[in-house]
Symmetry: C2
Subunit: 541 residues, 2 copies
């Protein structure tokens, strides 16, 4: 194997970093935030600058982090992943045993790509999509009345919802005229009802996304949507599109207008740039925008191959995260985009990061001896400033922050008030928060005292476009898998979600039995029966 | 003073709880989740059941928590607050020195209320609102063309946005015909642009919410909205409504169709049941729904006066939080509503909780010696199950969870699939997750092993209605202030947000100077200049 099989704490540089962490750089010391430091601690790639002078480190730590990258073979593993190594596995135990090739979806701009087979499949799907979108544009695919489709409902959950939704909302400013996209994800029947009741179903395409074709929430919501079409006297076959695995129960031309395919080597939370996101984004934003997203993602994927951490923002962000989490002991990370359009990007990252790296065994099936993935949360600024920033500045918990911002707005509708535009205010606030967290402020009133010395990074690009959104997505995907490589965990499975499913089915079985008038046989699983009784759910039957 | 002036760790019961925390109840032990435990560990009030058998405690700990409540005088302080004590202050230092009377807004159902003066003011505002809403309904207040208003845009930030927005989205299923509400909050110009461009401004009321009448984000967005009206040839005075303090710059009948008032004794994050939420909710849902929200909140406020923690869900939730945070050492809490309509309720709680309790000095201005407010985060289930639950079940961090659920759906549009409705699936999943976190599961495959013993609580009500939404809001408000009382901190100020504002203004001054062609004088605040240069924001001028 080309990658490490040891934990973070077995790497030679680990003890050195532990020692350095005992007296980390003090951001609040007089003169600490020097212009030289701020200018120098900056790494750039694929349209993004990562400004990190507001992290608690100096050149010695930075060199240590470079060694950590080198000793763990993080970049080698990343390259092996892109080329098709079977990275999704646990050595010696039954596991998914799959390649990890989400990067192949966007490796369409050079020849040969890192993995020929996967990129060929991606290109084929893109051709199918391009044709379908052209048919919609030319009026060759319409509803039964010959009208164009103006709405699209994406039915999916988890990776089939969060990433695609985050991308669409981020880029809705560039939506095509008369094209809007809506989302149904939750098994909560009110979610589907609320979305469907506001739509002209006759003008709506419904994209159902499930790799296995058997995701319970998605099938349930699809049935609710099909029932709504039936009530409206419309044929679902004219409106429903499937995005699913080859040969899944959903891969059925009799039920769907079109099928687009997804592959086992792309996990749900890494699938936004596959057909999972592309069909919906193509409808809403157009095919060219999809290609621009892929181009930005591909450029960031390639930047993430750099071995010099100063030239690789994804790797550097991964290492800064490990420094804060494993060495300085901060348990969470807040992702705070200063862009309202990124309002659901933190929710996507919650899945992508926490489902990937919220693990307790390493790739050899041994219990890990260091902390793995942190808790990821966040909301857009400046809104957050009026919400939870009080705790960031003066709380007893320290929260490392990853700020994300843009120099220009999307809509270009702006006003100068008190001498500056809203976009300038937005950027000024972002930079000010990073400075305030770092420097703090002395005050004789203890309630107005800020200890400072709270770490953050800033990711900046010119404008939130399809290209930079692709880059941002890929930057975080790379950050997450690089951290997983360094922790020596499998960032690509999710066995931790299985137990809840099993128990939910057990409770549903109990409910079905009682619903049919059967007896409450408590001899098996008394705790499940007790929970249902305590919750009072039987009274409604 | 009627309340404690000592910290949590100075109360007699503190050491006892520290000792008990060394061997807390093991939820994963065989038979630990007994039917008796599940049935007994339940507290109910105002339409909600709090099921807490899945917390790591037994009767001994519960008695200790009762003593903690008693010794801290938490309920006495809560009563003092409701009656008008000046709770928003730091002893011996300059501070806001205000009463805390958000509970008075909804104490309108009995005579005399806890605080006569504040409740009289609330009733007067409600009368003004009732009249205004009736005038809208009767067509006595219309646009210049005599048409009814169908849309409402709420412009506010922080407490003038998050709580009201969470309530509206929670209850949008009950919206009046031809009434829709939209929100603009972020200073990001794309936020205002995206909302305004989709609206028929002629049919739109705009509610501007700022107590001081000088919140920069809100004024900026108001100006953007007024500019849009001017471009459309419409008079803002016919469309704009002010919700502001008496005598603020916004309290101006020449600029606004109506003014509604808010008072200094209600902090922004506690203001959702004042005119801050009521005007918008009244437009969208009707006056009766507003009164039902107040009724639910008032009933929960009164339930929160109970000294027996088994009869007081708000106090019990507060104590469970302190047990998990201060004694078991868990730094975050996830609020996971199994209701898509509550999608923004966690964001409201982030503000209400973290801005209230993210503090480092106590009410005497001394540095606290124990952890104060935790990091609050969350997303609706079942969506979260397909996102970050992997970490909840198998991550190296333990995250206490507060589940929220309802036995029935709002829309009553549901389908039986595989023998159960979607609503049943939703509740079954919620209960199953609590059980799975608690019991875990043995497995010979280490990657499929669940350690369990991870704590959670479940809040359940019959249905998410205006009444239960009011109760849920008040339950969390009470939880938060009760925790603050026990920590002996001031949960009602937010000095921690000031430094960021000061630094943002400094950066904006720099940008304005350079924008006017002035020199970059780096002799003062070199770090601010350096940050702007590193961010590359000058190149655009």
């Amino acid at each position: 194997m080309a990658w490490n099989t040891t934990g973070l704490d077995e790497l030679p540089v680990y003890e050195k970093l532990v020692k350095l962490a005992r007296s980390p750089f003090d951001l609040a010391a007089p003169g600490a935030m020097s212009p030289g430091r701020i200018a120098t601690y900056k790494a750039s790639a694929a349209g993004f600058d990562l400004i990190f002078g507001t992290q608690r480190l100096d050149d010695t730590v930075l060199n240590g982090l470079q060694q950590l990258a080198d000793q763990s073979g993080a970049v080698d593993q990343f390259l092996a992943m892109k080329r098709g190594a079977v990275m999704n596995r646990i050595e010696g135990y039954e596991s998914e045993n799959r390649q990890v090739l989400h990067t192949a979806c966007r490796d369409i701009f050079r020849d040969p790509p890192d993995n020929e087979a996967a990129t060929q499949q991606a290109k084929k799907e893109l051709e199918t999509l391009e044709l379908f979108l052209a048919q919609l544009d030319r009026g060759e695919v319409t509803n039964a009345e010959g009208q164009a489709f103006t709405e699209y409902v994406n039915i999916g959950i988890g990776g089939s919802d969060l990433g695609p939704r985050a991308l669409y909302l981020a880029l809705a400013a560039y939506a095509q005229k008369n094209r809007r996209v809506h989302f149904i994800s939750n098994v909560d029947p009110d979610d589907a009802a609320a979305v469907l009741q506001g739509l002209d179903l006759a003008r709506t395409l419904v994209g159902v996304v499930s790799k296995s074709g058997s995701t319970l929430e998605t099938l349930t919501n699809e049935e609710m949507a099909r029932a709504a079409y039936a009530r409206a006297g419309l044929k679902p076959r004219d409106h429903f599109v499937a995005i699913t695995g080859h040969g899944s129960p959903m891969d059925n031309p009799e039920k769907y207008l079109r099928s687009f395919h997804m592959y086992d080597y792309i996990g749900g939370r890494y699938s936004a740039t596959s057909m999972v996101g592309a069909v919906m984004l193509g409808f809403g934003l157009g095919y060219d925008a999809v290609i621009e997203i892929l181009r930005g993602a591909n450029e960031m994927d390639r930047a993430a191959e750099a071995r010099d951490i100063r030239k690789n923002p994804a790797l550097l962000l991964a290492l800064l995260g490990i420094w804060n989490h494993n060495f300085l002991g901060y348990d969470t990370v807040a992702v705070l985009p200063y862009s309202q359009a990124l309002l659901r990007f933190p929710a996507h990252l919650q899945q992508c990061d926490m489902e990937s790296n919220g693990k307790s065994v390493n790739r050899n099936g041994e219990k890990v001896s260091v902390a793995t993935g942190p808790i990821v949360w966040g909301e857009p600024g400046t809104n957050g400033q009026h919400a939870f920033y009080q705790l960031l500045h003066q709380g007893t918990s320290i929260v490392p922050v990853e700020f994300i911002g843009f120099r220009q707005s999307q809509h270009e509708v702006d006003l100068k008030i008190k001498g500056t535009t809203s976009q300038q205010k937005l950027v000024a606030n972002l930079l000010a928060q990073a400075l305030a967290l770092a420097t703090g402020q002395k005050d004789t009133n203890p309630n107005r005292f800020f200890a400072g010395n709270r770490p953050s990074s800033i990711l900046l690009a010119d404008r939130l476009t399809p290209y930079t959104m692709g880059g941002l997505l890929a930057l975080y995907e790379a950050k997450i898998v690089l951290q997983g490589f360094i922790w020596n965990i499998n960032s690509f499975d999710q066995e931790g979600v299985q137990l809840g499913k099993v128990l939910a089915n057990r409770l549903l079985d109990h409910m079905t039995i009682v619903g049919r008038g059967g007896a409450k046989d408590r001899s098996k699983h008394p705790e499940s029966w007790a929970m249902l009784e305590a919750a009072g759910v039987f009274q409604e039957d």
